[in-house]
Amino acid sequence: MHMARFKKTTKITISYIFLAIIGILMVYPLLWMISASFKTNNEIFSSIGLLPKEIMWNGYADGWRGSGQYSFSLYFSNTFMLVVPTVVFTVISSLLVAYGFARFRFRGKKVLFALVIASLMLPNEVVIIPRYMVFNSLGWLNTYLPFIIPAAFATYSFFIFMLVQYVRSIPRELDESARIDGCNSFRILYEIILPLTKPAIISVIIFQFVWRWNDFLNALIYISSVRKYPVSLALRMSLDVTDTISWNQTMAMSVLSMLPPVLLFFMAQKYFVEGISTTGLKG
C-alpha cells in the first residue's frame, strides 16, 4: 500500500516536471524575443540569457519611428481600420445567417447548409485569383474593402458553422413561447438568441480578430501602397532591410505586433478554449 502511494507520487512529480519543461520550451522563444527587444544588437547575438545587461528602450523608440516615411502609429491604426470593421461585420452577418439556418424551415435548407460546410473546405488558394480580378474590376485593390465586404456577406463560413452549432443547442421552447407572446423573429433573435449566444459570439470575435490581425497573404496581395500597410506588411518590410538595420528594432516591433492578440487571448481565454473545443475547427 505504501509502495503504491510512493509510486503514484513519483509518477505525478515526473508528470509535473515534464509539463514544466514543455511549458518552458513553449514560452522560451517568446520570452527571448521580448528580452531581445531590450538588448543591444551585439548582445542579441552573443548571449542566450533572458536578462539584458542593461535595458535599452531605443529598440522601441527607433523601431516605432520606422526606417521609411511612416511610423508604426500609422501601421497600427491601419491594422485596426482593417480588422475592426471586418470583425464587426463578420459577427452581424454570421449571426443572422446562423439564425436563419438554425431556426427556420425552408426548401433547400439541407443543400444550402451542405454548401456552407463545403465552402469550409474550400482552400482560399483556389479562389484567390478570380477574387483578385473581381476586386480589381470593382476598384477595391489597395483598400480594405476586400476584407470588409466579404465579411458583411458572411463569407467566413467557419463562423456560420460555429454559430449554427451553438444556436441549435439553445432549447427551441424559449423562442416558441416568445412567439406565442407575439414577438416577431427579429425580436426573438435580438432578445432571446443573442444574449444566450454571447459566449459563441465572443469566440467569433476573438478568432476573427486574431486571424485578421495575423493575416499576411491577403494583405500582401491586396494592399500595395506603404501608406496603407497593416503591421504584418510593415514588419515584413523591416525584415527585408534588417541586414543593415538594428535587429532589436525589428524585435521590438514584433513584440508590439503580438500584443493585441495576446491581450485579447488572456482577457477572454475561457471563451477561446471553449469555442475551439465545442466546434473543434482550425488552429
Binding site: 508528470s15 509535473y16 509539463l19 514543455i22 511549458g23 513553449m26 514560452v27 522563444p29 517568446l30 527571448w32 547575438f45 452577418s93 443572422l96 445567417v97 439564425y99 436563419g100 439556418f101 431556426r103 427556420f104 425552408f106 439541407k110 444550402l112 465552402s119 474550400l122 482560399n124 488558394e125 483556389v126 484567390i128 485569383i129 478570380p130 477574387r131 483578385y132 473581381v134 480589381n136 456577406f153 458572411a154 463569407t155 463560413s157 441549435r168 443547442s169 423573429s185 486574431v210 495575423n214 499576411f216 496581395i221 503591421v231 525584415l239 525589428t250 505586433s257 503580438m258 492578440p261 495576446v262 488572456f266 478554449v273 475551439i276 473545443s277 473543434g280 475547427l281 482550425k282 488552429g283
Partner: protein, 305 residues
Amino acid sequence: MRHRRPTRQLKYRADDQRAGYLYILPWIIGFLAFQLYPFLASFVYSFTDFSILRPMKFVGLDNYKRMFTSDRLFWTSLKATVLYVLMAVPGKLIFALFIAMVLNMKLKFINFFRTIYYLPSILGGSVAISILWRFLFSRNGTVNSFLNSIGIGSLDWLGSPNLALGTMGLLVVWQFGSSMVLFLAGLKNIPQELYEAARVDGAGRIKTFTKITLPMLSPVIFFNLIMQMINAFKEFNAPYLITQGGPLNSTYLYGVMLYENAFTYLKMGYASAQSWVLFSIIMGFTALTFKSSPYWTYYEDGGEF
C-alpha cells in the same frame, strides 16, 4: 429509436420560409459572388493562358500537361509539400495527443498549462513569429548558441537543404496547442467505466490505449487530421518569410509556388491550374478521411434539422 421519429411536416410554412431566406440572404449573395463564382472562374482560367497583362486565350489542357511533364519546379514543390505535410501533421498530432493524455491525469494547474501551451497557436501564423524563427535558427542564432554551449555544436538549420524543411515543421509542432485542446475535450468525453472495466479485465496500459483511447478518440483525430492537413498543404507565411523557398528550393512549398506564379510572374491561368491540382489533392485526402469516419459531431436536437 425509429418509433419516436416525429411525423415530418412536409409542408413548409410560408412566413417561416420567407424569414429563413431573408436571414440567410447575405450568405447567399456572398457565396455566389465571393465563393462560387471565383471557384468556377478559377476552373475556367485553368484552361487558359490568362494573365492580367493581355487578353486571355484558351489553351486546353496545356497548363496541366506542362505542369506534369516539363515543370521541374512543380515536382520539386509538390515533393517538398507532401514531405512537409507527412512530417509536420503527424508530428503535431502525436505530440498534441501525448500532452493531452498527460494533462488528462487529473493534475492540478491544468488550466495554467493549457494556457501556456495554447499561446503559440494564437501567434503561430504571424509575421512576428516567422521573424523570430528566422532569428532563433540562424547560423549564429540562439538555438545554435545553446547547442554549442552544451557541446553538440551548431547546425545549419535554415541553410541546409536537408534541415530547412524540418525546421519549418518544428514551427508547426510548436503550435500543437489547438489540437491538444481538442484532444483534451475528446478524452474527457470517454466514459470512465470503460477504463475501469479494462482494468478489471487486466488489460495493460498499451492495450488500454489501443483498444479504448484511440478508438473512442478517433472522430476527433480524423477531424484534426483533415483540418491540419488542409492547413499544412496551404502553408505560405513560414516558407515565404523565413527561407524564401530556399535553400535549393527545399522549402519551396505549394503555397509559395502558387503565389509567385500568380502574383509575381502573373501567370494566372497556370497558377489556377496548379490551385486545382492542390484542391484535388486536398479533396482526395479529405474524402478518404471522411469515408472512414461518418460521425464526429453531436447535436443537442438529435440531428433534426
